[in-house]
């Protein structure tokens, strides 16, 4: 027994020694930014296929657009030059000419950016087989290289924001033509861009490692590397942040989380735009919601201020229209019905349901969406509406709601901050689900199509805003959807991390790490 104890002690000392020696060997030699993200893994790093939050955040560090949102802002009025140093448009707004910066280098020795790369990238973005955002580029008739550093884009028709589809967002990112052609299908995990950071490697299930792009055209980044860690467990990620193993941490849009994290020493919690607007779309073509009185009862049954209190005053705000606040064209002058459970009961009785009504709805098991829907379920109950939730796995939810299997659909989304995008995707007749041109119109509403279409091609900004406001009034009065709340993005960072700009918003859904970002 004594021998056994000695062996055990010896083993323990050997392990302790290995651990101690290892700890001593861990020294930081270069400024590395360590980011924790709530995900199992990255998906596709070809920016034109980057649709999930985890992919969007990281591609924004690796790619540029012809133009960009000013870092820290999502205001389209603050779009500024990026790869294009200047541009001009024709009097009718249909021909746009962009003059590229000279000397912009791609990562990995793929050479200088030329007009060929821009033409290739935008054509790729507009092609369904090579981009998830092809629909955004339908209005483009042609893209051509005028010379090595000049690109001309001709539109079929005017669109609300030409610069919007050319920003550092979704399909607007510029890729290296040579790299795409050379790497083929493997480009999704070996992307080449012009951004301040280049992908070094992806370790499946673990991290994506990025290195500074020394030849970045705005100057070499002050951060040497980024270690983008995939940590799906909220608890573990928070512990890692508290343990100073992370400098930047993906947060939860939840007041308790925000309060608890703010109490961690040397920590800053950033809450920023865009807000994701949650709407319950009501299928106006199917019973029971083909009766407007039942839709109105639903609208009166929902109490938005309670929902905001549930999610948190710092991270959520009431939805005021079927378009998120702050988007160009947003209007809250739309006659949104107030919370009034008694009026809801009266409307149900008028519609032939004096004892209330039961509605069966499909919903996702994602906790943040399920929690909110359960609160709505309680509010509806007070108005005599029993919500029978059929909870399914998230991918199943997305498939089934597109098959019209749920008469009401809870959907939360942020889009490019112009009213047209939200109105078109969610409330235009062309976007109705189960049609060849479907996007996410679950309500099947088409009452505001003419206003949406007219606003899209209008060149008069004031007229455009008037039409968008009218469209919102029509959709709200028809109760095509019941807006709930807008939830903002939340990240926590150590106070020695300086972004180099004031973070008020980010279209990439995460803080932009630029050449100016530094660890003090």
């Amino acid at each position: 027994m004594r021998g056994f104890r000695a062996a055990l002690l010896g083993s323990a000392m050997a392990i302790a020694s290995a651990i101690g020696l290892h700890g001593a060997a861990q020294t930081q030699t270069a400024p590395t930014l360590r980011v924790g993200m709530a995900a199992q893994d990255v998906g596709r790093l070809d920016p034109h296929f980057a649709v999930s939050t985890i992919d969007r955040v990281v591609v924004a560090w690796m790619f540029n657009g012809l133009v960009r949102f000013k870092p820290g802002s999502i205001n389209p009025a603050e779009i500024e030059p990026d790869l294009a140093e200047r541009w001009e448009s024709s009097a009718d707004g249909k021909t746009w000419t962009f003059h590229l910066r000279r000397g912009v280098q791609f990562h990995g020795g793929f050479g200088e950016l030329t007009a060929e790369d821009v033409v290739f990238s935008l054509r790729k973005s507009g092609t369904a087989a090579t981009s998830a955002f092809a629909a955004d580029y339908r209005a483009i008739e042609s893209i051509e290289a005028v010379d090595s550093h000049t690109v001309r884009i001709v539109l079929r028709e005017n669109i609300p924001s030409v610069l919007g589809i050319l920003t550092n967002y979704s399909g607007g990112y510029i890729v290296s033509k040579r790299a795409v052609e050379q790497r083929g299908d493997t480009f999704v995990r070996n992307p080449i861009g012009t951004g301040p950071f280049a992908l070094d490697r992806v370790t499946p299930n673990q991290s994506a490692e990025l290195v500074a792009h020394a030849q970045y055209f705005r100057g070499a980044p002050q951060i040497g590397r980024i270690s983008y860690r995939f940590i799906p467990s909220d608890a573990s990620r928070d512990l890692a942040f508290q343990n100073r193993e992370l400098d930047l941490n993906y947060g939860r849009a939840d007041q308790t989380w925000v309060n608890r994290t703010r109490a961690v020493p040397n920590t800053v919690v950033d809450v920023f735009e865009p807000g994701e607007l949650a709407i319950i779309s009501l299928n106006t073509r199917q019973p029971p919601f083909n009766d407007i009185r039942i839709r109105q009862a639903m609208a009166h049954a929902v109490n938005r201020s309670e929902l905001v209190r549930f999610r948190g005053q710092d991270v959520a705000r009431e939805g005021q229209s079927v378009v998120p606040r702050g988007y160009l064209g947003f209007s809250n002058d739309n006659g949104l019905l107030p919370a009034d459970p008694a009026r809801a009961r009266a409307l149900l009785a008028e519609a032939g349901h004096p004892n209330g009504i039961t509605i069966r709805a499909i919903h996702t098991q994602l906790p943040e969406m399920l929690n909110m829907m359960q609160v709505v379920q309680q509010q509806l109950r007070r108005a005599g509406i029993t919500l029978d939730l059929q909870v399914v796995e998230h991918a199943t939810f997305h498939q089934q709601i597109r098959q019209d299997l749920s008469p009401m659909v809870y959907y939360s989304a942020a889009r490019f901050p112009v009213a047209d995008i939200y109105l078109t995707q969610f409330f235009h007749g062309r976007s109705r689900v189960r049609t060849p041109t479907a996007v996410t119109n679950f309500s099947h509403c088409d009452q505001a199509d003419s206003q949406i279409d007219a606003a899209r091609v209008s060149t008069d900004v004031e007229e455009q805003k008037r039409l968008w406001a009218e469209a919102q009034r029509i959709l709200v009065q028809n109760v095509c959807g019941v807006p709930l709340i807008e939830t903002l993005l939340v990240f926590a960072r150590r106070d020695n991390l300086d972004y180099g700009y004031e973070l008020r918003g980010s279209m990439s859904l995460g803080p932009l790490i630029t050449e100016a970002t530094r660890l003090r």
Partner: protein
């Protein structure tokens, strides 16, 4: 011996094909379109159709099945639908982490569970026995996501001995060992608890047999009676449980991987399921099936080592 191993491996082929067929059917029955998951919610039906064609999902189910089975039998698992990377490469990158954790947890479970089980059996109904039974029950009752968080709070946050983020560089053995300690304890505790109970029960039965009484009557020292005569005869159920549990550890380590931020097969399979990455799921199933066959084979071989009668059969 070689003939036995070959026969067992050949016998596993029909099992493998049956499992693959089931997996192929199940992943396609489950609702959820991989093309929609990959392209996101703004994709048009046109884009979804284009991607389905590119992924080969527009082919008939028979064509997809035949192509999958023939490729799998030739050892080609294809590429992930989501990342485009070779499935073999994806698995090879994380398999060492899974094997590290499985083997370390198994060793921990055996090293702790067997002596404690024997000790409890030798002190039947005594303080040690009651303590071992209560502790093993507690060990079985604590899920990894609870014990794991407690371990992280104590050893990472309070004492700062270990990092919260696991997943070491495979070429750095010190780092690998360092980051293996807490997950091994969390997962190994459950296994140790299980082995303790099985060992205690098997030893109690073994120590009550006639040959033990005979050995004692012949004057064999007690330590030798326990460790050689008693334990060897109690080993068959222990080895069976360890074999079974290793299979469970291989498949169920996902929670440990998530809590301790380690890469591993469990996390890949959950990710593949969420993203409806059919090819990845199918490839992983083949690998899991193969690992389970190997574990069962080793267990069978160990039976022969422990009990000469099994070897003779």
């Amino acid at each position: 011996m070689t003939g036995f191993v070959l026969r067992r491996l050949l016998a596993a082929v029909p099992t493998l094909i049956a499992v693959l067929t089931l997996v192929f059917i199940i992943v396609r029955i489950v609702p959820g379109d991989p093309a929609l998951v990959i392209l996101g919610d703004q994709a048009t039906p046109e884009a979804i159709a284009a991607l389905r064609t590119r992924l080969g999902l527009d082919r008939s189910l028979w064509a997809q099945y035949f192509s999958f089975i023939t490729s799998a039998l030739m050892g080609d698992f294809g590429v992930s639908m989501v990342t485009g990377r070779s499935i073999t490469a994806e698995v090879a990158a994380v398999l060492p982490h899974t094997l590290d954790l499985t083997i370390a947890s198994m060793i921990f479970g055996v090293v702790v569970g067997v002596p404690v089980g024997i000790w409890a059996a030798l002190n039947r109904n005594g303080v040690v026995d009651v303590a071992a039974r209560v502790l093993s029950l507690l060990g079985l009752s604590f899920p990894v996501f609870v014990s794991g968080i407690f371990l992280l709070l104590a050893f990472s946050l309070h004492w700062r001995w270990f990092p919260v983020i696991g997943g070491a560089d495979l070429s750095d053995y010190g780092d690998r060992l360092h980051k293996l300690v807490l997950p091994t304890i969390a997962l190994g505790l459950i296994m140790a608890a299980y082995i303790t109970r099985v060992t205690r029960s098997a030893m109690l039965q073994s120590l009550g047999e006639d040959y033990i009484r005979t050995a004692r009557a012949k004057g064999v020292p007690w330590r030798r009676v326990v460790w050689v005569h008693g334990l060897r005869n109690a080993s068959i159920p222990i080895v069976t449980v360890v074999g079974l549990y290793v299979g469970i550890l291989l498949g169920n380590s996902v929670l440990t991987e998530i809590v301790f931020n380690r890469p591993g097969l469990g996390k890949i399979i959950v990710g593949a399921l969420n993203q409806r990455d059919y090819t990845m799921l199918q490839g992983l199933m083949v690998i899991y099936c193969f690992l389970i066959v190997v574990v069962n084979l080793i267990t069978d071989l160990l039976y022969g080592v422990i009990d000469p009668r099994v070897k003779a059969e």
